[in-house]
């Protein structure tokens, strides 16, 4: 890895990928802070650990099965009551497709 620095532009790009709107000043601050954390985390980059199996999860588990029985799920009206906007039993969202 060449550099520990995350540039301001890179920070803006990451923020957009994560769907976070940030200001230019915030981009400067986050760029410095993220770079500092990553610089610390780079100490593992020096470890020679080729061939070591990664651990995704502390408990190695296979697929967990349950009996296929019919049971109640959450009440639809109660769930929709939490939504910022809903209509006819569905979540209502702003326009997703472009103008026709």
């Amino acid at each position: 890895m060449s550099s520990d620095q995350i540039s301001r532009d890179e920070t803006l790009h990451i923020a957009h990928l994560a769907r976070l709107a940030i200001t230019d000043e915030e981009a400067d601050l986050y760029s410095r802070q993220l770079s500092a954390v990553l610089a610390h985390a780079r100490d593992i980059g020096a470890l020679d650990i080729a061939g070591v199996e990664p651990t995704m999860h502390a408990v190695s588990m296979r697929n967990v099965m349950r009996e296929d029985v019919v049971a109640d799920s959450l009440d639809r009206e109660e769930v929709l009551a939490s939504a910022p906007s809903s209509e006819a039993g569905m979540f209502l969202v702003p326009r997703i497709m472009g103008e026709e």
């Binding site: 890895m1 995350i6 920070t11 990451i14 923020a15 957009h16 990928l17 994560a18 769907r19 976070l20 709107a21 940030i22 986050y30 802070q33 993220l34 500092a36 954390v37 990553l38 610390h40 985390a41 780079r42 100490d43 593992i44 980059g45 470890l47 650990i49 070591v52 199996e53 990664p54 651990t55 995704m56 999860h57 502390a58 408990v59 588990m61 967990v64 349950r66 959450l74 009440d75 109660e78 769930v79 009551a81 939490s82 939504a83 910022p84 906007s85 979540f91 969202v93 702003p94 326009r95 997703i96």
Partner: protein, 490 residues
Amino acid sequence: MAIVDMAAREIASAVRNRELSATEVVEAHLSEISAHDREVAAFLLVLADEARHRARSIDEAIARGEEVGPLAGVPIAVKDNMTLRGVETTCASRILAGWRPPYTATVVQRVESAGAIVIGKTNLDEFAMGSSTENSGFFPTRNPIDLSRVPGGSSGGSAAAVAARFTPLALGSDTGGSIRQPASLCGVVGAKPTYGLVSRYGLIAFASSLDQIGPFARSVEDAAALLSVIASRDPMDSTSLGVGFDASGIAEGVQGMRIGVVEEMLEGVSSGVASVLDSAIAALEAAGAAIERVSVPAARYGLSAYYLIAPAEASSNLARFDGVRYGLRVEGEDITETYLRTRERGFGAEVKRRIMLGTYALSAGYYDALYGKAQQVRTLIARDFAAAYEHFDALISPTSPTVAFRFGERSDPLSMYMSDVCTIPSNLAGHPGMSVPFGPAENGMPAGVQVLAPALREGVMFRVAMALEAAASEAAVPEWAKAAGSGGAA
């Protein structure tokens, strides 16, 4: 003894024997909360009416001669990242303000079935990301032992509530030390069980492969009693191990036990905390344990691995907060702009930092070098612990390198992350760990000793904890409790 000074098990037995009503118990704790939570700010929500109602129905059940459970009439505080159906649950985040979940967390169901009474929802660092509770989206919680200092975090509200005698029991969650570190800083007992021992259903996810719910109490036996109630198989959590926890035998002592002191966790420790650990070592030796230093070499890389893995998982888990199904929505021109604005307004700075860090660690070109390598380090940590446990029954270390710090003292994120250097390795390995108060250290502030054990060896861990507790000096209490002498609330 004032009701608010009683242990959970004493309360339950007094309630069951009708020496005390559940209503009296709840009223005593509610009045302690109304007298002092303005200063401490442990609670985001006090469930006074609900708790009174529950207390009445427990008293009525007892009057009818019904079985009421092992925690009958015992108040319990719940960290506000666990759900109660119909009761506002926020994770101390503005993005969830006003959200009333349509379901109840399994742990809450279990404590209620055991007769406990949920008395309120406690403050935390937003989405459990932090080590001081300063990152709450609403207000910071203060340390009851010294109001100018932080309670630790992220379960700072739960730790403070127990230390302030607002409740004898509380539930917290621990992803990298979020139960143990605030327990240490507030002078109470806090335990993170083996990953999978306690159901996570209804715990709002931060880093799913690390998160685990556990107990806070003022005594080791109370913490064990609460753990035995919440440890269970749960079909709603596919990582649930399907075993329970049996608290009998935890008083058997440490005679003949081999206990290792983790060398890598002694670096950077304050002199006060180091001498607390020295006296703990002497106490365990006096109780018949053989103590030796042991190296767990990969533990020194725990912090680095954690700050890649936990943010990576968080960036994925927190993608669900998009203004569509629950919580805040800030309407934009189209759906993308709605996402951007909702998340900008709804999340605080630390949450944004971690989401960005995780997004970066998972992004193309960095995945192998960062996230992949961190997962390999996780394997090394588990191996090194396994090697240590060939020679030792349990391990000890300081819980946190320092006592509680002052507000604003750790504004640099990296210095805040260092608070969890001793606690993080057990989350990465999935092993249990707990903090037992053994202070005081600097400025008379509490300091805990951390006890670690192999997966599912909570019994051994609690035995060591009990031996430590038996030798520990008098627990720290808030100033107002000293002034009141043995008296509690007015």
